[in-house]
């Protein structure tokens, strides 16, 4: 069963599963919770369980196509650029008034559902106010406050919490075949967000990057201006690397389209879609890279603070670096640590507001140097 593949969220899954079995499915759901926690997987699983004759067996052609986004009665809507365009919402409304193609129901999953301008949101609201009989909307968002209250009030809200650390740890140990120590580290570093924890297991460089970031932070003490700028540009390269990798993946997907099974017109159109998706993903990955660097630094200073205040060593996130943490705790005053953590919060905000990455990194590192050692 597909429900069994979902990690954590057992209460949420059980209640959704029951409502499908007892035919008490709502017209609209709002899935809320931190990004990467597994909302979208549950959304797809819910869709499959409604359409699959076996309630989401995970084996049949219906389940396969739903999970691969190939089923005509399940549509996933994502922001194009920053927002979900109003045209897309209009198309959905039109489509919602058509009976399903194959199954008994039609499902629309909106990712980043808060990212709609007023016109798009009010169009969606109109559909939610008088939903066609066999349609289910699943709005997925990490930021429910950004969703129009009138839309929210039409939805059954389902909130997703981070998977409990112990459960997540056991899961990634089994799934990824890694040691308990390592699983523990990954879970702590990713704050218990499932999607991120899995990424950290698959992408070894993320851990290497943490090491580099901390090394740079420790070197700030004795760095000249030029050294700091140099560090910033090295970190910038670290952020760029996965973005380049992403471009390569998309190039490959574009080449795959040209395997000859599709005619040139279709290939052109799909390539264009891929280009748009890539530019969207690039921005996202870049922002995420900066956020991760800033977060790594925040945890680092927080660990030093915990050590300094005589906290339980079990509370440390970078537990593998206890020696280094002790050394720093000896020399940096509490006030300065707190200022640094504040400053990093500002850096994360700047990343979300699309401040150029290199500029953001430079000013953060210089700011940290000032706050810690001036």
């Amino acid at each position: 069963m597909l429900w069994d593949n979902v990690v954590g969220h057992s209460a949420v899954c059980l209640s959704l599963k029951n409502s499908v079995e007892q035919d008490r499915v709502h017209h609209a759901y709002l899935f809320t919770g931190p990004s990467g926690v597994g909302k979208f997987i549950v959304a797809r699983t819910l869709a499959a369980s409604m359409l699959c004759p076996e309630g989401g067996c995970g084996e049949c052609n219906v389940c396969r196509r739903v999970m691969q986004e190939k089923h005509p009665d399940v549509r996933v809507i994502r922001p194009a650029g920053k927002n979900i365009p109003v045209e897309t919402v209009r198309e959905v409304r039109m489509d919602a008034f058509m009976k399903p193609s194959e199954g008994a129901r039609k499902v629309y999953i909106f990712k980043g559902a808060e990212r709609m301008w007023e016109e798009g949101a009010s169009t969606l609201l109109k559909v939610l106010e008088e939903p066609p009989g066999d349609v289910v909307f699943i709005l997925v968002t990490a930021n429910p406050a950004g969703v129009l209250p009138t839309i929210r009030s039409r939805c059954q809200e389902v909130s997703f919490a981070n998977v409990p650390l112990e459960q997540l740890k056991t899961y990634i140990m089994e799934r990824k075949g890694i040691s308990e120590e390592r699983a523990d580290l990954v879970v702590r570093l990713t704050g218990g967000v499932l999607g991120r924890a899995l990424d950290w297991c698959d992408e070894q460089w993320r851990l290497a990057r943490r090491d580099n970031v901390i090394k740079a932070a420790r070197a700030l003490k004795r760095a000249e201006l030029n050294d700091v700028l140099q560090m910033a540009s090295e970190l910038y390269r670290e952020v760029r690397a996965p973005v380049e990798e992403l471009s390569a993946t998309y190039q490959q997907r574009k080449r795959d389209l040209e395997d000859g099974s599709l005619d040139a017109g279709v290939v052109r159109r799909l390539s264009k879609d891929l280009d748009e998706a890539l530019s969207r993903e690039r921005v996202k990955e870049e922002t995420r890279g900066v956020e991760e660097i800033m977060t790594t630094l925040s945890w680092w200073y927080r660990d030093i603070l915990v050590m300094k205040e005589g906290g339980d060593p079990g509370l440390l996130v970078n537990r593998d670096l206890t020696g280094e943490i002790e050394e720093e705790a000896e020399v940096i005053p509490t006030r300065r640590l707190l200022d640094s953590i504040d400053l990093l919060a500002g850096g994360i905000l700047a990343a979300e507001r699309n401040v150029p990455v290199q500029l953001n990194l430079e000013s953060t590192l210089l700011g940290l140097q000032e706050a810690l050692y001036a």
Partner: protein, 364 residues
């Protein structure tokens, strides 16, 4: 799958199925044609998720099977092959087309990804003579809306009419409404009243065009199906409540006008050149149509007509008026009015089969 068939027949099969492939689709699989070979038949299917086409031809099937390939590529090669027998064989990765001269390989897509298309089973619920079905679509579809804000109005209602044992086709965009009663053979009892996208009906009319074949119709798996010869067109239905059109029909008790359709068409066409809205004057023995566009020009034309009842002046959108007049199926046209502020009725002369209701516009 190994199957052979005459090039001419194969090409027409593929070209027909291609009519169901949309250029706007987002799923790559929908640019493909599903090809099935089974029990002496080759079947080609296409869908854009709103409408699907399934068409078949007799063929010699040496090995049954199915595959999906790019519709455009298959169509292009079929069009260009020389006459004679063509063999089509699907292997692991490629569909191989062999003709006298050459061998052409088309990369296959995954048939499992292709959406399910309902297969016609059992008897039709009713049958309509092809020509009358096509003209009913032409007469009503212009009144349908293309505004996605009201999805229901982008469809046409097909409703059973138990009194006449026929069906009624109704379309409206809320500015005008067209209805047509269609005679059918067979029973309409099984038919479920439904709203079919007008776009699909227009396509059915195009596909049925040129042949005098009957159009057989039925409802299956919550979809409407139309069978024309060896081809089946399936349409998804629009959900929702169609406006209660019967309430809108004007009584038309105050004034009645009768005149030759062709004459009125010509006058309206000339008047349209000078304005979007027509001042439509009805007098004891003639009509006077005037239009104007300030600072551009104006028109005034009179035309004789049999008028009974009160004289009046009423405003119409010229395009909507023309659509209605053109849709009339008789040589003479009948118009009925109640009040300049109320909808007017345009209909076939001495017949109740076709009715067109048009809302008046305010005149300055």
């Amino acid at each position: 799958m190994i199957v052979s068939c005459d090039r001419e027949k194969l090409n027409s099969l593929v070209q027909t199925a291609l009519r169901g492939v949309s250029s706007r689709v987002t799923m790559p699989i929908l640019s493909g044609l599903l090809i099935n070979a089974e029990s002496g038949e080759l079947v080609a299917s296409s869908t854009d998720l709103e409408m699907s086409i399934r068409t078949r031809v007799e063929a010699s099937v040496k090995e049954s099977g199915s595959t999906v390939v790019s519709g455009k590529l298959l169509g292009d090669i079929m069009k260009s092959l020389p006459p004679g027998e063509v063999t089509v064989e699907s292997g692991e990765k490629y569909l191989v087309v062999r003709s006298t001269g050459g061998e052409y390989r088309i990369k296959e897509l995954m048939p499992e990804d292709f959406p399910q298309i309902p297969v016609w089973s059992g008897d039709a619920s009713f049958k309509v003579q092809g020509g009358s079905f096509i003209s009913a679509i032409h007469q009503t579809s212009r009144a349908s809306s293309s505004d996605e804000k009201r999805p229901v109005l982008t469809g046409s209602l097909i409703e059973k009419n138990l009194e006449s044992s026929g069906v009624r086709m109704v379309a409206t965009d809320s500015y005008r409404l067209a209805w047509k009663d269609v005679e059918v053979s067979g029973s309409v009892a099984e038919w479920e009243d439904c709203i079919i996208p007008t776009k699909t009906l227009n396509e059915v009319a195009r596909l049925a065009g040129g042949s005098d074949a009957d159009v057989e119709t039925k409802m299956q798996d919550k979809q409407a199906m139309f069978r024309i010869g060896t081809m089946v067109v399936t349409s998804r239905l629009i959900e929702g409540q169609f406006p209660n059109y019967k309430q809108l029909i004007p009584k038309g008790e105050k004034t009645t006008v009768v005149l030759a359709k062709e004459d009125l068409v010509a006058v309206v066409r000339r008047a349209m050149i000078f304005g979007h809205n027509i001042r439509f004057g009805v007098y004891s023995d003639h009509l006077r149509l005037t239009t104007e566009t300030p600072e551009v020009g104006d028109s005034k034309e009179e035309i004789a007509a049999e008028v009974s009842g009160e004289e009046m002046e009423i405003g119409f959108n010229a395009g909507y008026l023309l659509d209605g007049v053109l849709a009339v199926d008789t040589e003479k046209i009948e118009m009925r009015f109640d009040d300049p502020q109320k909808p007017a009725l345009i209909k076939d002369f001495e017949s109740e089969e076709f009715k067109y209701i048009i809302m008046p516009v305010r005149l300055r």
